[in-house]
């Protein structure tokens, strides 16, 4: 992998083009490859990985770029998911098409982002963390309880029978025959999610290089100095919340359409923390790092689930520790060791790395 990267960074545009095309082909055939080798369950895991990557990239804007620690990010995912679920299921009797509901969910999440961001502008660090955590819980509690006096969200029972994502007559919920190939539902979702993930990556990259992106990083490094340089910190911070929330809402809508069922238990604090771990483990503020974090945290627990049992059989001749317990234990240990080994994440951004070195020189604690 290192070689590929070196190759990319040293060669000219043409080399990059070839790599790019090859990569595109690989990404296109990946679901078939995985399906044939490891089974369709893994294609489904890839779908979830893509959803989580979208979430992680959204949170990366808030935490990685603007440096605002958000522990309630999953709320925006919930808003997007419930927006889709309510407008495209028998719950309210509405069956609006996917291309209306999805942007609506993203927009709604964006509005929530601003609404929740506004009161927290004066708060910093740990106080911001607890308030965002509170907001996340508040949204979940409302979703959990709004089944009475008027039944809106169906409460803890959740909303089932959500319409699959559909383009006209082409439903992603069914298996299709195209170009002589069989495309099962999970494969089709993979392509759709990949498309949206690429879009989110593209927007993130553009933002990173823009005036806005630089303003975010200025705030992250020193808010007072940023303000002195003429940055409207209030608006810029709100924009970070809004952008992050929009991506979250988008992923949420896709999740609802994919899963066909949403219930408040999917949007708890642990989910927020999982997404945060992706961003931090991978490398805050670095898109490649966040991608890596997202993939690792979705795939690793699944791999452990299947790897640990047989491995113990092989080593000790019997299963000493329940593979299920071991999985969560190793997951925790991995978080600790990675942080000790590379505190800035597995793949920190170059700029961040430079800062770290400088910080270490001036460190007083």
């Amino acid at each position: 992998m290192r070689n590929v990267l070196k190759h990319l960074s040293s060669k000219d545009k043409r080399g990059a083009w070839i790599a790019f095309v090859m990569l595109a082909i690989v990404l296109l055939v990946l679901p078939f490859f995985t399906d044939a080798l490891f089974g369709r369950g893994w294609v489904r895991i890839m779908d979830f990985a893509l959803l989580y990557i979208m979430l992680a990239l959204g949170l990366n804007i808030v935490v990685g770029y603007a440096g605002l620690l958000d522990l309630g990010y999953i709320a925006f995912f919930a808003v997007g998911a419930y927006c889709y679920a309510l407008l495209g299921s028998p719950q309210l009797g509405l069956h609006l098409p996917f291309w209306i509901v999805l942007p609506l969910g993203a927009l709604l999440a964006c509005i929530f982002g601003v609404l929740l961001g506004a009161p927290t502008l004066r708060l910093r660090g740990d106080y911001l963390a607890i308030v965002t955590l509170g907001f996340g819980e508040i949204i979940r509690i409302f979703l959990n309880n709004l089944n009475a006096p008027i039944n809106i969200t169906n409460g803890p029972q959740g909303i089932s029978m959500i319409d699959p994502i559909r383009f006209g007559e082409f439903s992603l919920g069914k298996t299709h025959e195209l170009f002589g190939l069989t495309f099962p539902s999970v494969h089709l979702h993979y392509y759709l999610f990949l498309l949206f993930t690429l879009l989110v990556i593209f927007i993130s990259l553009r933002l990173e290089d823009s005036r806005i992106g630089r303003a975010w990083m200025a705030i992250r490094e020193d808010e007072v100095a940023a303000e002195a340089m003429g940055i409207n910190t209030r608006n810029i911070k709100l924009l970070a919340f809004a952008m992050g929330a929009t991506f979250g809402g988008l992923a949420g809508g896709l999740f609802a359409g994919f899963q066909g069922f949403v219930s408040p238990e999917s949007f708890g604090l642990t989910e927020s923390i999982t997404v945060l771990c992706m961003v931090v483990l991978g490398g805050m503020g670095n898109i490649s790092g966040v991608l890596l974090g997202g993939i690792l945290l979705v795939v690793l627990p699944e791999a452990l689930r299947h790897g640990s049992g047989p491995a113990q059989q092989l080593l000790f001749g019997k299963t000493l520790i329940d593979p299920e317990s071991l999985r969560m234990l190793l997951f925790g240990l991995a978080l600790i060791t990675v942080m000790l080994w590379r505190p800035a994440g597995l793949w920190p951004s170059n700029q961040r790395r430079r800062e770290l070195v400088a910080e270490n020189d001036a460190a007083h604690l």
Partner: protein
């Protein structure tokens, strides 16, 4: 924007996917039962998937489910089951769904990849429902041992069954019992805002009101709380004569204790979530006189029921937690249907499943057109002298009154 910068993240997508694949999933087959070794060539291997939370706060219930299913599988392997003229060897493929809807769909897909002939699961409604869509798409019969939400079988899926009464059936029995047997007039209700607790409490309220009693207090808690003094104090101010709690024993225990401590003299009633040996162990004196329901007929009154609980305790060195007998029944119903259809092919035995009658350890099992258990009976119990004593069985054709 340079191509380099865009392709870098893409490279990771690809590389990480390869790394992930490199971890290589080993096929999830469990080691063969030692009892079976001969004529392997002629054997029909039947894989039964089971899924429940094996980690997290409900892990003890999930493990209980797995144990129940495993016992049925082991029994079937010992007593030589012939399906379509071939000797069948059963394998259990157990997966952890972490009580998480998303993980449940992944697990469902994995079970299908493993070519299971049928699935026993999941434990919760919140996992059974999203997974049911995947089983249905692949034509795999699913029998949930413990999902109670009405909506699970109301989706119109041909593959979704359960051997457990739904919230509507159980809530109705509980409500009638509270009003007609316990003569409650003013009733207080607490639920834990989980899908199970809220669903049962709402159905209980409907039944109570239909029978002419009044709900004077409606309070709520969470499935993580241990302190209920605030809601109990509020309830005390409204002077009810009965308190119903829609929730499970970890909350039921401290609630029963705090009722006593606050001097709230009411009859305390719970659903099946409270009917565990743990409840009595943990609540001690506070457990005395508490009521709880359990779907089906008491194990001691069913043929093979007592034997089952003794064998379970001998095998797993612990008492049945809650749903193990239902899991045992669910597996046996599935095996019986396969025998009747003379095939373990889901497409062939699925139509038979809708028509089967099977005498299980929890009830005589047959399914209605939706996949719910037919003639659902619910038994009410009270803690007397440190044991759950059956009081009466309500509903169903096998209505027995035991004293």
């Amino acid at each position: 924007m340079s191509y380099k910068r865009l392709s870098l993240p893409l490279a990771i997508l690809f590389a990480a996917a390869l790394v992930a694949c490199g971890k290589s999933e080993t096929p999830a087959t469990s080691p063969a039962s030692p009892a079976v070794n001969s004529s392997a060539a002629d054997e029909l291997v039947v894989k039964i998937g089971a899924s429940a939370p094996l980690t997290g706060p409900q892990a003890h219930l999930g493990k209980d489910n797995e144990n129940g299913a495993r016992m049925a599988i082991d029994d079937a392997n010992i007593k030589v089951v012939i399906i379509g003229g071939r000797k069948a060897r059963f394998e259990l493929i157990s997966e952890d769904d972490q009580a998480d809807p998303k993980t449940a769909t992944i697990v469902a897909q994995k079970l299908i990849d493993a070519k299971v002939n049928g699935v026993i699961g999941h434990l919760n409604s919140g996992t059974s429902i999203p997974a049911s869509r995947i089983y249905s798409d692949n034509g795999i019969p699913q029998i949930s041992p413990s999902a109670t939400a009405v909506s699970y079988t109301a989706q119109g899926l041909k593959t979704a069954f359960r051997v457990m009464t739904n919230d509507g059936q159980q809530g109705k029995a509980l409500g009638e019992f509270a009003v007609n047997t316990l003569n409650a007039k003013k009733i207080a209700v607490i639920d834990d805002r989980s899908a199970y607790g809220q669903g049962l409490a709402d159905e209980f309220i409907k039944a109570v009101q239909a029978n002419g009693a009044r709900v004077v207090a409606r309070e709520y808690t969470t499935d993580k709380a241990v302190d209920f003094t605030a809601v109990l104090t509020s309830i005390k101010g409204k002077h009810p004569d009965l308190l119903f709690f829609g929730g499970v024993d970890p909350q039921g225990v401290p609630m029963a204790k705090q009722l006593k401590a606050l001097g709230l003299n009411v009859k305390f009633v719970m659903g099946d979530g409270g009917h565990t040996p743990k409840f009595i162990d943990l609540a001690g004196d506070a457990a005395d006189g508490v009521y709880a329901s359990l779907p089906g007929v008491p194990l001691e009154q069913m043929p093979g029921g007592k034997d089952f609980s003794q064998r379970y305790e001998a095998k797993y060195k612990q008492p049945i937690q809650l749903y193990a007998p239902y899991c045992y029944d669910a597996v046996n119903v599935m095996i019986a249907t396969m025998q009747k259809a003379a095939s373990a092919d889901p497409a062939k035995y699925l139509p038979e499943l809708a028509k089967i009658t099977h005498s299980g350890v929890t009830a005589n099992i047959s399914f209605d057109e939706k996949g719910d258990i037919k003639g659902s009976s619910v038994t009410l119990y009270q803690v007397q002298h440190g044991k759950w004593q059956p009081l009466q069985t309500m509903g169903g054709k096998t209505s027995i009154s035991a004293h």
